[in-house]
């Protein structure tokens, strides 16, 4: 079990008063709350801050923590001093304090549980296992076609493989509840539930906008000017797109019903035109551009007042 430096976690001095500790916690909570934060390690950081706050804001807990002495370093292997008289995973010197709800974001660390007890560690009575939440990351193709995804659950008394059937048209945030597949219960109590949430990974070509699928379609100036028949990829395979003459960059062309499947109305695909200019890297090509200027003089900025 590793020693935790709660002062360091909150970034406060060992002499910090309660107001300073509260302020430090609030600052970290806002920054790292997993429901709001986009930081990659948000959940871990938030839990750490919460645990540190739980100890340092409570005068009794803080006193007990401080009594361990100041020679400990964060991450150092921690063994409780002799004479703590642990029973059933609970320390006997501290028995008061809050009851921690299992609906919190996971539990506190082993270090915390050793020092202050806590329900997750308390043996001897029956308690339902913790509910757990996990993300199932799928590709856009998997979301479009549907299919099955295998998941390994290892942190259980028994290793299990979950086969999750994903419907065509699955969307980010969609939830699945597997009763009894969460954390194990204690004392014969049932296990918690497992909640799975779908997340569609970003795709190099396509971008989802709700049920619609967007594709940036690079075209040549000639195709834009003269019109063309272009093979365009969709999630269901390539289709022919008719590009009208005199098309402009930024225009979006709709391929009706080529978006994500949906029980109400299927999404569309949009091709957003992006004109790519051939480089004027030879004399001949330069002359051709110059000829265009002569033949088609126009100023795309004419409505600017500059």
């Amino acid at each position: 079990m590793e020693y935790k430096d709660y002062y360091d976690v909150l970034g406060v001095d060992k002499k910090a008063n309660q107001a300073e500790i509260k302020q430090a916690y609030r600052r970290l909570a806002k920054k790292y709350h997993p429901d709001v934060s986009k930081e990659s390690n948000a959940e871990e950081k938030f839990k750490e801050a919460k645990e540190a706050y739980e100890v340092l804001f409570d005068p009794e807990k803080r006193q007990a923590y401080d009594a361990l002495g100041s020679n400990w370093r964060a991450g150092q292997e921690f063994k409780p001093p002799p004479g703590w008289g642990k029973e059933g995973g609970r320390t006997s010197f501290y028995t008061g304090g809050n009851d921690f709800s299992s609906e919190d974001l996971g539990g506190f660390s082993d270090f915390f549980s050793q020092l202050f007890g806590g329900r997750a560690r308390a043996g001897g009575f029956a308690e339902r296992g913790r509910d757990q939440q996990a993300k199932v990351v799928i590709t856009l193709e998997e979301a479009f076609h549907g299919g099955s995804k295998m998941l390994q659950l290892s942190a259980q008394p028994q290793a299990r493989t979950l086969k999750i059937n994903i419907p065509a048209g699955a969307s980010t945030g969609q939830q699945l509840r597997l009763t009894g597949q969460g954390g194990a219960g204690t004392g014969g109590a049932p296990a918690g539930d497992l909640y799975l949430e779908i997340e569609i990974a970003s795709h190099p070509l396509f971008t989802l906008q709700g049920k619609d699928v967007y594709l940036i379609l690079p075209i040549t100036p000639a195709e834009a000017a003269l019109g063309a028949q272009i093979k365009v990829p969709t999630l269901a395979g390539a289709v022919d797109l008719k590009l009208m003459p005199n098309s402009q960059a930024g225009q979006k062309l709709r391929l009706k019903g080529r978006g994500m499947p949906d029980k109400n109305q299927r999404g569309d695909q949009y091709a957003v035109l992006q004109i790519v200019i051939p480089k004027a890297d030879t004399l001949e090509k330069k002359q051709l551009y110059e000829q265009m200027v002569k033949l088609m003089p126009f100023n795309p900025r004419q409505h600017w007042v500059v």
Binding site: R26, V36, E103, L105, Q158, K163, L178, V272
Partner: protein
């Protein structure tokens, strides 16, 4: 004996479908989230959730609503904000998710 059990432990295969729409009753939701029915009433008052009602006018909660309830409870508790604030945060988060979608499209457009 303990060793033998390890060998007995075969991999279990559990098959589950996202297609099945699950609805939970008020009792179930209160039990899962460890909250009171009054808390649910407050969430409805604040427009945070909109549960369906079945034929006998009892609330039915989808899993995505269950998730919102859990999030609301966490935000209220961890960030010490009232439910009006929670409602605003949830609205802004949805708005941000849409803007992120748009931004990722623009990222692809810019050369």
């Amino acid at each position: 004996m303990a060793k033998k059990r390890e060998f007995d432990t075969k991999e279990l295969m559990i098959i589950s479908h996202y297609t099945r729409e699950t609805f939970l009753s008020l009792d179930q939701v209160c039990h899962i989230c460890d909250i009171s029915p009054e808390f649910i009433d407050e969430l409805i008052d604040q427009n945070i959730i909109h549960p369906h009602e079945n034929v006998s006018a009892q609330f039915m909660f989808s899993l995505s609503q269950l998730r919102r309830i859990k999030t609301a409870k966490r935000l209220q508790k961890d960030l010490e904000i009232n439910l009006a604030g929670v409602a605003l945060i949830l609205e802004l988060l949805e708005e941000m998710a849409k803007l992120r979608e748009k931004a990722s499209l623009l990222d692809k457009y810019f050369l």
